[in-house]
């Protein structure tokens, strides 16, 4: 009765960014319903790989599904329902003892992180001549993570296009720890991890376009659209088949959407505004499959628009 066993447990894997939200939902759900849920952390990319192999029912993502992943899912006959659940401000941080950096422009970040920088950009001065000639230490998301894809897309201009000589980890705490304990360091990760560690690392205001003011990540700046280009929606992808055939999964998603505002805020992310939640709920009810994206990470989309795109 392996099948029964499979249905018994709801299997979730994917983004470490979304993990705290799903974990909170899973915990409450199991208390309420006594249905077993496992939540893994493989990063968005890793999560989709499992999802498209049919190993999981739900995949968490901190970026939309990519064309390649859609193909894999299609090949395995897996259809999915795309559900945005929260906003995140991808936060760039430095060591609190670093006094010379007041803000980062997108250009500066690009110079620091683009593939060409690998092995060549080694000091702050090489990024901005007004900064001292001291070494740079980089901490960033691992290559399987949506954060990595989103950051490279938003900063370098091409997803997954990054230098490789930095401390890359799917484990955001490694990044926090690294930046917190190294004066030369900078790194990036989801807002929740910054919130919890704001005493150990310092967020850097981002200058979206030359001349514009530097904007710090916060609930407000995400909601009012000024924290650009690093604001991003977070998603869960539900297997359409599981949603139809497995009442447990359906119950779980219902529970997820019903409680997500409260739980998202509890874990320090930015909840969707009420109208967007309503839209997501409708979308779930309609069980419409597919993605609102065309298989590429996109920067700065509104969720209501997005859902409308799914036919």
């Amino acid at each position: 009765d392996a099948a029964a066993n499979k249905n018994d447990i709801i299997r979730i894997d994917g983004s470490s960014t979304v993990y705290p939200i799903t974990e909170a939902v899973a915990e409450e759900f199991q208390k309420a319903k006594r249905i077993k849920v496992t939540v893994g952390i493989s990063g968005t990319g890793g999560g989709f790989k499992k999802f498209c192999r049919g190993e999981t029912d739900i995949s968490e993502a901190s970026r939309p599904i990519l064309a390649k992943e859609m193909e894999a899912c299609k090949a395995a006959g897996i259809e999915f329902i795309e559900l945005p659940v929260a906003y995140d401000a991808l936060t760039v941080v430095i060591n609190p003892k670093n006094t010379f950096i007041k803000s980062f422009t997108v250009e500066e970040l690009k110079k620091l992180w683009e593939p060409e920088a690998q092995g060549t950009i080694k000091t702050w001065k090489q990024v901005n001549p007004s900064w001292p000639d001291t070494p740079v230490k980089l901490f960033g998301a691992g290559s399987d993570s949506g954060t990595f894809d989103y950051f490279t897309e938003a900063i370098v201009g091409k997803a997954k296009s990054s230098r490789g000589d930095f401390t890359a980890s799917e484990d955001d705490n490694v990044l926090v720890q690294g930046v917190a304990s190294d004066i030369a360091a900078t790194g990036y990760f989801g807002y929740a991890y910054y919130e919890e560690n704001s005493s150990r690392v310092k967020a850097v205001p981002i200058v979206a376009k030359a001349g514009a003011p530097g904007v710090l990540p916060s609930r407000e700046t995400v909601m009012n659209g000024t924290y650009q280009p690093l604001s991003r929606p977070l998603f869960i992808y539900v297997s359409a088949n599981a949603a139809k055939s497995n009442p447990n999964v359906k119950a779980f998603i219902d529970f997820y959407l019903a409680n997500s505002k409260e739980l998202v805020e509890e874990v320090k992310y930015v909840a969707l505004p009420a109208n967007e939640y309503a839209a997501v709920n409708d979308h779930w009810k309609s069980q419409k499959v597919g993605t609102g994206f065309n298989g590429e990470p996109e920067v700065g989309v509104k969720i209501t628009d997005l859902l409308k795109r799914i036919k």
Partner: protein, 313 residues
Amino acid sequence: MASQVLQKPAEPTISARLAKNVRRHVLERVIEFILMLAALSAVATTISIVVILLYESFTFFEHVSLWDFLTDTQWTPLFENAHYGILPLVSGTLTTSAIALAVAIPLGTIGAIYLSEFASHRTREIVKPILELLIGVPTVVFGYFALLFVTPLLQRIFPELPGFNMLGPGIVMGIMIIPYISSMAEDAMRSVPMSMREGSYAMGATRFQTAIRVVAPAAISGIIAAYILGISRAVGETMVVALAAGQQPNLTFNPMESAATITAYIVQVAMGDLPHGSVGYQSIFAAGLVLMLMTLTFNIIGHITRKKFRETY
């Protein structure tokens, strides 16, 4: 005497209780065969390890030339601009191991000499089991200790020291290995025959002189075996470096820098998903192969040295 005439009975009478001879015989064979299969499990495990490492590495080396693997100075297999040079991982592995040994060899040797030549019987009876206890502490706990206790402590001495560095975990690994080395080296020194010591003491030597000039040289190959097996341990240690050394492949031998070891790379990648068949998946097996070769070399040398020593006494 043998000339006595023997009456020939019709046929040899084998007593009835022995009739189940054949069954017993077969049963014995079956049992032996089963036991042999169990013993072969060790061989099977080794073969599985080798086959799996070689098989995955083989496909890895279809993507990556062996030359690049051995000479490229960057290791970024999971990124767009992929480089597959194992050297940064090897340098990290060697540096952390070297630090560990710089701690463990002198202290372990001194400890062994103390235990074998200085400690009273009672002290030895108390200290040795405690040392064995130390060997049993899970390494993940030591990793935590290196990251959150030792490194901050070191940062007070070297304010420049980054939070992830090779020094802290290296030292902690060294401390972990002390009991291992001291217990093995002590065994070696204990097995130096008492007559050798008596010879030295009879010349009016002190304990220290006897230990340093006679016992340690006599046990030298056993002590070296302990060192070599200690190296193998250090090279294979995973959690301490994975947690505390930083996970950035970095071709450096500077203990004040962060770096990734072969082992740390494997767990780090394993923490994400490993799509079966991707170069990333294969790369951890290639790294594992290198690790296996390194530790195997040390183990073999260590065991040969030890065996030689055991044969001497």
